[in-house]
Symmetry: D2
Subunit: 331 residues, 4 copies
């Protein structure tokens, strides 16, 4: 169907759950090769999507593997109790994806640009991590039991370093030889309602073009030889995605009002695609695809979700922190 | 006309030049009470809009007074020569709006939130200003001739301080007793092509609701008793503005394609307004009006225009800097 | 005594407890007009010094009033439990100094320069405060019961604004009309062992020349008409103080080794003062008094104590936070 | 000689010129295996020290190789003209140490901790570099002629990443395969008069324990296989160095005053070492060697010298910038 093709071309989402929704909106049934399981825990919904075939990978536009999504619309409000609940669940899901012995080393990479607020999630999370690798090597006695070696870096983006982030990471992994890598990044969603309310954890690594900026990197078990868990929260919607949605919704609204038998119906459907493209090009000029839509209060939203992720990762990494009351070592 | 009313309700611009364009798009002639003069200087266009009557103020939605706009689309590319040209012109226009003796004191206020990249223009400019008031009071001999007393502050936004920025400024003005105030702020434009390419200087002060955030402040000669020059560069477009533009353009495209005599024409026109509102509400949920559209490379764009404004203000304030080659004291 | 006069000239401390120690080191008995009370609470010592006479004020070099000091050497190590204990005690002592009705407004001022790590304590604390004044005015229902109106600002230092901080505060207080002011600042201690381990709370306001930088401000009940509680933690020792201590200790060591009856004794005593001054001038050239001594790990130390103070102030301001488990709303 | 040994144990300097001065203060003649050449250029002195033998390396405590020092005491004052002069000379000296074809790639590494103002020099310089490697690979046409591929990274310090900086750099060099590396770092000097006034360029790489923090890294041609030019400016003096200097000066002053034939002379000389150590330990407790002495206006000093170095490196890297008037592309 034409409409779908248009969508597939313009709409971008880093969330497997949204890719699935879009696809199911068309076919109205579960996609072959995609297994989905949903669980409601209080104000939070946990969805586990498993893409199991190359064909499903192709259709979804998402790599084969497991994607876990925690959704909690209440996170948009400053709700510290809900933040704790989501953080704890995030810890559990992260542990379920990693299969680590107690002494194995983990490297956490905060992707994104610290100078652009909605892209600063990765670096912000790294700032709040409990980094222990050097202490366990040099003065293990100062830490006590229950800590795993964790290293962390926020390498910056291509425009700042002149070097592909994947190259930096690969070089680092070859030297540090961690047993697993956690890559944290700000994501782009299709729907504004997902912003700052949805955590995605995936065992597929980071695929080229993901994230808020255009990072063109591929970091995955295939390229670096160790498990790569990608953790992200959407902070922006691409302007093109919203533009596309708006024009589609507008045409649907007009068609609906006019009625299926109206002479308008075929006219609109026939002119839709070309006009849409031209209109979007005109309105989004001169930035085109390089525009993001983000809430005005982006600073406090990123601050809150960065703390949630950092706290959750700290607890997942170190049993000594998991056993403490939540929040103790968040900082 | 309905279409106009829709536009007037949803579209926001802090630029007088855009308000005028929108109005003239409808009436096709110069608005009574608005005097406009345009001058092309190389790659830059200087437009001087003078709103002279209460009626024009009402129609334009902009306070009576003078608005000078420097437009240079080339600023989007890193063009240091053009940056210098615009900065020099900005200095001249700023001086033409201020009428100051050589020893009179100026206070520069950087409005906006330093934690939100597109709203950080004001604080960034303040960071690069040559602040002299304390030196001229305590050790004037270290500076030499040709410097005016300049103070500067970036007070932060309501969400950070809990205090209206206008209250902070008023208190400060009563203590410091400057002879004029320059307020620098990031602006919202209607058109993306204005972002980072257009400087507006106005002698009207800052009116409530202007700027990227919702600053609700009124700072003007009437409220603080001294001339207030507002300086700004657009860094965002409101998502609602783009949504409105997109749906309008889409409908126009459909109507144009269908032809004036098509039966579609009245149908679309009649259903337009209500549907548009519903569609926009649905797509922009749950953030509604609190969404901004901004380029992904916002960090370097803000950095560049902050330097342009800071350099221009430094030169306007201090004859010793004007006489030097440009750039010398930018920092 | 000569030695004392030398000390009084060179040694600087912002802590009343240290001023008292220095004076008592000489006179070996409690100073008239100074009441002191000490209490040990686990790993923490609470000392309450009350300067009650103009004569004691003159001798101590500290304004008449109450100074409460919490000392916990363990804070130098990252000890989250001890941090909680000190934070809770700090909340209680702060409340004991303020006498506020539940709806009265408090303004918190973070003094110091955010660009100089050891001077950034005040601004860092302000960043973590729960600011409520605007919410209680505009949308009180979003907060619920148990919150007081709190505003906060970090105005920057004279070198950044060109305006005395006291002028900025006075202007602000006249506009906002708070019922009390809390001023947070990094302090200078005499002894390195106090750095990051000692919290001082005083009801005397901030006196000129205090703090890490030279802020030359006087903010007190007399100047702004409302109670001013000064809160601070030492982050630096003046290089001159350490130099003075070193040379004094060295001479004492030599004299002790030589013995009281040695012919060296009077020689050293006679030459001491002039030489000391010359040596210190030579070694500390060309910065002289404008040098600070601070630990290399100053970043994490300031981060930790800023959280301690912010958490303690938040709990003191808002009963809703006090009743929660500690740490909940620290952020 | 005892006095010398004391000094050698306690005094730390990263400047070859100071190591030589200390050694010559003792032996009163040029050190064998060290060639030195001095040139006065206006207000600036250029000193070229060449350490040519293993024996000289051992004595100086500095690796064999070339060390160029630019000294300009006037840099402490904000003197933009002198900054330009030093920056231009720095560019020339840097080029004289590198032997690069026009298309060869250079990687610049900014060492140090961005959260500690005096240690932030390296990261600050990286921030102002013109990074071109990715542009020359992806869109060379946007740059034009006269640009070399330059990459840049500020990896952070061990306490932040948990990974030795040298490991990060080695991994990066293996991936990016640059033809040369420039490492920028804040240095420790022996004399306060060197702070912010002395630029050192060395072709020896960075040796363990250098820099403001304890970075324990060795980055040199031997370890990474490409030329490593180390660039640095002192921003701190170790507190131990100042303490050592002070006590030495004090004892010398006493001895001088007492006269060579005084009975004090042998007494003081005999008791010196042990007492000195005890006194320093007592006064510098509990931080000992982990204390730095730095000017209070460290923020503006670091800002100024970071611009000087960034401008000089940009000009050295890119002929297109060298041919422009200075300052054009500094940013």
């Amino acid at each position: 169907m034409t409409a779908i093709n248009i969508k597939r071309r313009n709409i971008r989402t880093d969330l497997a759950i949204e890719a699935r929704e879009m696809l199911m909106g068309e076919v109205q049934e579960e996609i072959p090769g995609v297994q989905t399981q949903t669980e409601d825990i209080g104000e939070m919904t946990v969805t586990r999507v498993h893409i199991t075939t190359p064909d499903a990978e192709e259709k979804m536009g998402k790599k084969q593997g497991r994607y876990i999504t925690l959704e909690a619309p209440g996170l948009r409000q400053k709700n510290t109790e809900l933040q704790d609940t989501v953080s704890r669940q995030f810890t559990q899901e992260l542990l379920s994806m990693l299969d680590l012995g107690p002494e194995q080393t983990v490297l956490v990479v905060g992707l994104g640009n610290w100078n652009v607020t909605p892209d600063a999630l990765g670096p912000r999370v790294v700032k709040d991590l409990l980094v222990t690798r050097h202490i366990l090597e040099l003065q293990p006695e100062t830490l006590g039991e229950g800590f795993r070696p964790v290293g962390a870096i926020a390498p910056g983006v291509l425009g700042i370093t002149g070097v592909e982030t994947s190259e930096i990471i690969q070089g680092l992994v070859e030297k540090v030889k961690p047993d697993a890598l956690i890559a944290v990044d700000a994501l782009a969603a299709r729907n504004l309602s997902r912003l700052h309310t949805t955590v995605q954890i995936a065992d597929t690594g980071i695929t080229p073009g993901s994230g808020v900026g255009n990072k063109r990197m591929g970091i995955s078990q295939e390229t670096i030889g160790i498990p790569v868990i990608a953790v992200g929260i959407p902070t922006v919607v691409d302007a093109v995605t919203i533009a596309d949605d708006l024009t589609d919704h507008m045409m649907e609204a007009i068609m609906q009002e006019a009625g299926k038998d109206s002479p308008i119906y075929p006219v609109i459907q026939s002119i839709a695609e070309g006009d849409k493209r031209a209109v979007m090009q005109e309105v989004l000029e001169p930035y085109g695809g390089r525009l993001m839509v983000t809430p005005k209060e982006i600073d406090t939203l990123v601050e809150d979700i960065a703390r949630l992720l950092a706290g959750g990762i700290n607890a997942a990494m170190h049993p000594a922190i998991r056993s403490e009351e939540t929040g103790k070592y968040l900082h």
